[in-house]
């Protein structure tokens, strides 16, 4: 793609999310979502083959439906409150429709079906933008309407997302689909605590973005999209095998790595609000996630996975220079002692 056009379109994706996060008028928020959607379609279709076209079409259809539902909720809110300011949603029907629309945008169950298929059909860099940047805008709107969200619907969607994210990722060998199911599960954790303490949602979003960024950059570094090609990392750059191990265990939520921080805080917040069964179930279902991360680490770092003999002497042209990889790795594994600094997020 022409570099000037590509830069313009990428800046428009950024501008769309910024408009969503900064606007106080519901119509501008909707315009921001549409601008974001429109501009990310050519980024998803960077490589021009039928898979990316199909993935872009699926993404466009689901997100456009979600935008239409959002507009309907905005208009119902307008009818019942007479104003366009984004303070709280004044009508329970509008609140439910808006929550469903934003859940469709995030990829929460039962609207999660597009996430693995779209993530699998696009390149690794486009998948990175899809799974990290595109979650910021809907989550910011959920944060702003969090006082008026129906608790039952949101918690049901969250718990089912954690279950589907863990269970669905079990049978996958394609790395992009694994990251997609991981994204579904993490979105479930984020929305579960939204009604109780939205600050923890933001914390979880921050740490999730750091970890997902790190994972994708490690995949881009070794140009691997399947478990099998990831298992040849010991041959290309042996150092990244350790880094993959640490980052994957951090994503699984193991202490003493950073990924434990949001899960710990969320479980603590939920138990403070006298719900015991829910965080127990969530913690148990996070084990499913941990299982397929461990399977990846087993084949990548902990063993030299069996392969044919000519695979043991791989060479590649030149090592891709990945920006900011060392700081990202450090941040996605060593942030746990900084947990008392959470008070600055209030």
């Amino acid at each position: 793609m022409n570099p000037l056009i590509f830069t313009t379109i990428l800046m428009t994706v950024l501008l769309g999310t910024m408009i969503v996060m900064m606007s106080s008028h519901w119509l501008m928020i909707w315009i921001g979502f549409e601008m974001n959607l429109l501009a990310i379609i050519p980024i998803l279709m960077k490589k021009y083959n039928p898979r990316t076209m199909e993935a872009s079409t699926k993404y466009f259809l689901t997100q456009a439906t979600a935008s239409m539902l959002l507009m309907m909720a905005i208009i119902i809110n307008l009818m019942h409150s007479g104003q366009w300011t984004i303070t709280k949603v004044f009508n329970p029907t509008a609140s439910i429709i808006m929550t469903s629309a934003l859940a469709m945008k995030l990829g929460l169950t039962p609207f999660h079906f597009w996430v693995p298929e779209v993530t699998q059909g696009i390149s690794l860099t486009s998948g990175l933008i899809l799974l990290t940047w595109q979650k910021l805008a809907p989550m910011s709107i959920l944060y702003q309407i969090s006082p008026s969200i129906n608790l039952n619907i949101l918690l049901t969607m969250a718990v089912l997302s954690i279950l589907v994210g863990g269970w669905g990722g079990l049978n996958q060998t394609q790395l992009r689909k694994i990251m997609a199911y991981s994204s579904i599960a993490h979105m479930g954790w984020m929305t579960a605590v939204l009604v109780y303490n939205p600050t923890l949602t933001m914390l979880n979003m921050l740490i999730y973005i750091m970890m997902t960024l790190t994972m994708f950059m490690l995949f881009i570094h070794s140009s691997s999209t399947t478990t099998l090609s990831l298992s040849h990392t010991w041959n290309k750059t042996p150092l990244t095998t350790t880094l993959i191990l640490i980052t994957l265990l951090s994503m699984g939520g193991l202490p003493p790595l950073s990924g434990f921080m949001p899960k710990w805080m969320i479980i603590q917040e939920l138990t403070k609000n006298s719900s015991i069964i829910l965080p127990t179930l969530m913690a148990i279902m996070a084990l499913l996630n941990l299982y397929f991360y461990m399977r990846l680490t087993y084949s990548t770092s902990l063993t030299m996975f069996p392969s044919t003999n000519n695979m043991k002497m791989k060479w590649q042209f030149e090592t891709k220079r990945i920006t900011l990889l060392p700081p990202l790795i450090v941040m996605s594994s060593l942030l746990l002692p900084l947990t008392p600094m959470l008070s600055i997020l209030d």
Binding site: I5, L27, I31, L38
Partner: protein
Amino acid sequence: MMTYIVFILSVIFVVSFVGFSSKPSPIYGGLVLIVSGGVGCGIIMNFGGSFLGLMVFLIYLGGMLVVFGYTTAMATEQYPEVWVSNTTVMGVFLLGLLMEVMLVLYVLKSEEVGVVFKFSGVGDWAIYDTGDSGVFSEEIMGVAALYSYGAWVVIVTGWSLLVGVLVILEVTRGG
């Protein structure tokens, strides 16, 4: 009939929307879009918004739909699909018509519609009467406010349209 004119126009509006949503060939979609645009203009005018209604005719039908018609005429196929040529299209069209008929019967029986939420009529645009400089209507003042207080909206909308064109060119150009 004149008391129910908005209702009749809105029924024709919905039926023409069903007409193009059942996906015949774009030529026939454009035909019912013209009908729906004209009827929508009538609905807006019945609420007192003469300026916006004429704007629909001028810009939407006279600008955008004309360009759409020309491009569709350039890209048309030898046997375009009508509503009765394909079983699926006719089935969807009849289904939409059936749902509209049932909704009309429901509305005619009861005063207000209470499907998901209660909805019983909309208001009009307010008309201001300042003593010295004449009568202002709220809808024209809205358009004026768009270009003065709402400059940011104009900037965002203009940029979205520009990026829309760039995106469409990128997508159709391919690799």
